[in-house]
Symmetry: C2
Subunit: 494 residues, 2 copies
């Protein structure tokens, strides 16, 4: 087979998806609404490139079993390893370290864009997705954490979630660290094991976590996961801690009984107290944010406050089964990430959400039903010698703000009408020789056609005012089509 005869298969790479107009419209509306909120809170936009040097990215992904530790990496022609960013935090840390001298401090930035993870692809598991982050670099104040939570809540509501749909759960790594220190656990490996174990509470329940805090756990398949190796007393202390229960001032009081004894625990508690005061000042009540010691977040780099926003709605999958939606945003304080570069400690805190996940949450909440993708008016190419008249009609509609196009394929009338219907055109415009001679146009109401094939058309009154097809003077074309579009907006929903 010669090279010219080679035919590649047309397929997207595994784990990468194509997004069509409907999904993109929802995504862009979310990003636009959230960006406006972030800018109103004084955060400025930043966009870094897709690549970072591999050493700058660091190795912070929990999934380290994959090639290149879960990232897409390649070697540049100067032999340096570069990798596609796996989140927006690592590039921010690099940017902040690189430009620290000249930035206004604290540096408040937001960013959105694709991130890439070299995970095992599977159904619904994508290797590229859009994240949207806001971070404050250079402020050690707990108020900076509180602000991200309040702003995140405002962002959710701007995007379409309602109060009561979501709840922020806040904790501090310092509490657990303090508790472990008091129990004599100092090894970094053990501490990380405790975090990983507690992070699985949702999935494994208290008994599963107890095993993972101790010697280890064998799952249904018989595979054994080594535990953090705590002694029995420490295990029970951790379990008592995570079960303290969610709340505001009440939770902080109960926490002080458990972790007040260590210096780091006391520090974490004091910080949560200041977050509580700031949240109250920002008008964020217990219906939007609570403290919950069971939240630890999996990422290793968090050093203080951690938080996530959970969707409270009961959601169901396509088969009607109840589905735990889980978190729609998360974040926390990472005081050491910029110092990796500079050696100089620079406190930082951030919040992040996945845009597709928030779109799915909005869908699940039912407040933001997928809009019918409204297509353009299609001017039928009826007579090849009249293309100029068709272009003029389409231009006139566009000038009136109505999306419109001339059919540019090579098919006859019937496929053209089918095309217009598939594009979800509100109307088709037909101008044959007779119409042009008489100075008229024929307009076909395609919304009506679609409605007739659904149940809606039982509404007689609505049907009576929509004739389906009409011939109007050419100079009334725009008005007639505007009326069809307006009528469609009043259409009774099925």
């Amino acid at each position: 087979m010669s090279d010219a005869d080679f035919r590649p298969e047309a397929r997207a790479p595994r784990g990468f998806s194509d997004k069509r107009a409907g999904d993109l419209r929802v995504e862009r509306r979310i990003l636009d609404a959230v960006s406006k909120v972030y800018e109103r809170w004084g955060f400025e936009a930043l966009d870094t490139g897709a690549f970072e040097y591999a050493d700058a990215l660091g190795k912070f992904l929990p999934d380290s079993d994959r090639p290149n530790e879960g990232v897409f990496a390649l070697q540049d022609d100067d032999e340096q390893w570069m990798a596609l960013r796996y989140d927006l935090t690592a590039p921010l840390a690099r940017f902040a370290a690189e430009n620290w001298e000249t930035l206004p401090k604290p540096f408040r930035r937001y960013a959105f864009g694709p991130v890439w993870r070299n995970e095992k692809p599977g159904p619904g598991r994508y290797r590229q997705f859009i994240q949207c982050d806001a971070d404050t670099v250079g402020s050690a104040r707990p108020e900076a954490d509180a602000e991200l939570i309040a702003m995140g809540a405002e962002g959710f509501e701007a995007a379409g979630l309602r109060r009561g749909d979501y709840l922020f759960k806040v904790n501090s790594r310092k509490l657990l660290n303090g508790l472990l220190a008091a129990a004599g656990v100092e090894s970094q490996g053990q501490k990380l094991g405790v975090l990983r174990a507690v992070d699985k509470l949702d999935r494994l329940g208290m008994d599963g976590v107890r095993l993972l805090l101790g010697e280890g756990r064998k799952d249904e398949s018989g595979a054994f996961t080594k535990g953090a190796g705590l002694n029995g007393k420490a295990v029970e202390a951790v379990l008592a801690f995570v079960q303290i229960g969610a709340g505001r001032g009440d939770t902080l009081s109960r926490l002080s009984d458990v972790v007040g004894g260590s210096a780091e625990g006391a520090e974490g508690l004091e910080e949560l107290g200041r977050i509580e005061t700031a949240l109250a000042g920002l008008g964020v009540g217990a219906d939007r944010a609570v403290f919950d010691p069971s939240i630890v977040r999996g990422l290793e780099y968090y050093t203080g406050a951690v938080f996530e926003a959970d969707l409270l709605l009961e959601t169901t999958d396509e088969k009607g089964n109840a589905v735990r939606f889980g978190s729609v945003a998360s974040g926390g304080r990472y005081d050491d990430l910029v110092a990796r570069f500079t050696g100089q400690p620079i406190p930082a805190t951030g919040i992040s959400f996945g845009v597709s996940r928030l779109a799915a949450a909005l869908r699940a909440a039912g407040h933001n039903p997928v809009e019918t993708a409204r297509g353009p008016v299609v001017v039928i190419a009826f007579d090849q010698d009249q293309m100029t008249a068709y272009f003029a009609a389409a231009a006139e509609l566009r000038a009136a703000g109505i999306p419109a196009e001339v059919y540019l394929g090579s098919s006859g009338m019937r496929p053209q009408m089918k095309y217009a219907d598939r594009r979800m055109a509100p109307a088709a415009v037909i101008m044959g020789g007779d119409e042009i001679a008489a100075g008229t146009v024929t307009i076909k109401d395609l919304d009506l056609g679609r409605a007739l094939s659904s149940q809606v058309a039982d509404n007689e009154a609505w049907r009576a005012e929509r004739p389906g097809q009409m011939t109007v003077p050419r100079d009334q074309m725009v008005a007639a089509i505007a009326q069809i579009i307006e009528a469609a907006s009043r259409e009774p929903k099925p």
Copy 2:
């Protein structure tokens, strides 16, 4: 040195840049304006992933001296080679081939997003940039080409260029092919050599192109570029063709004398004639689009009409030297790109522009001066015990649509004022214990401060109405700040 002591250098990879808020604002405004135009013309949004399989991308980049033929490629863990897209056309061809059966035909889509080229990085030469494309797949009609030109022009104007700033230059590959066929040149390699030679007309002039059409050319450095190897008569025929001159009907008449003799030339000429008619019908006159046989475009995959939009403005660089801006958009017909996958011929045509380049064109045109990046109002953290009052003030401003933040660093008054100034805050809000007790706030007009340090402040009348600092009742804070912002919008420009 232990791993924990390792400090990576904070730097973006070579050829990748960080974009700050000012540039992003311009880019987003362009994409938003152009997207609205494209949707009004009936084009639907599509977003494909960053990666394609390398065989799907093909090898169409002119720069084949680089590793992986100018793309960033890596091998997936199933051994398949993937590469980051180098344009938005190749992914569209793959998507169209993959989904052809279920797409409305013709398929009209627009897309924007980053593309990556593994070029030699250098000052101002980036390896990632944003493209914005619109394509019609499944229409062989020359009207589809004309429409992209008319829509591109409307997009430019929506983005901020004015009529007269730009000019589309249109040609057809078929003319040159016909002319070469008539001269007995049939080899693909020679034809490609002719395209590459003519494409350098701007840079090398007629004499340089003459050498490249013939045996070859030695440049100033002594390096020799092999020519297309045409005989003398064919060389002169090509040169006569490219010098026919730009215009509309007049150019087409002159072209018919030169290329009418071959079947492919006649076909190209007939297609340009239909483009001429359609452009006229779409109201695009010779002030916005002309035919120009010297335009060939470097990309190998074009099969028919090709076009580019040139910036007509005299532009100057920072040193005041005149600069040829060159093309701000380009495109053409690529009838074989989808057939690479399917074997089935599917005609297609597209237009593409680089967003940074259009932003630079707008800057050069001077119609879209870089906006002053207006920052948030900064509420000074004067008294640590009053943070709640500060958060409430910021929230009140935001609720009124005024971006605002509380200073969250740890510095004193003077650095806080400096921070507010660097953020380009219109005002700073100061609430000390006295003010809070008296129910007032002190507002510092930072715009005035900045104006005083420029020449503008000579305007006495304007200065008189701006007191610089004022103390107002707390419940008049929002109104007072709104007034400062409004006054700034009337500020005489330096």
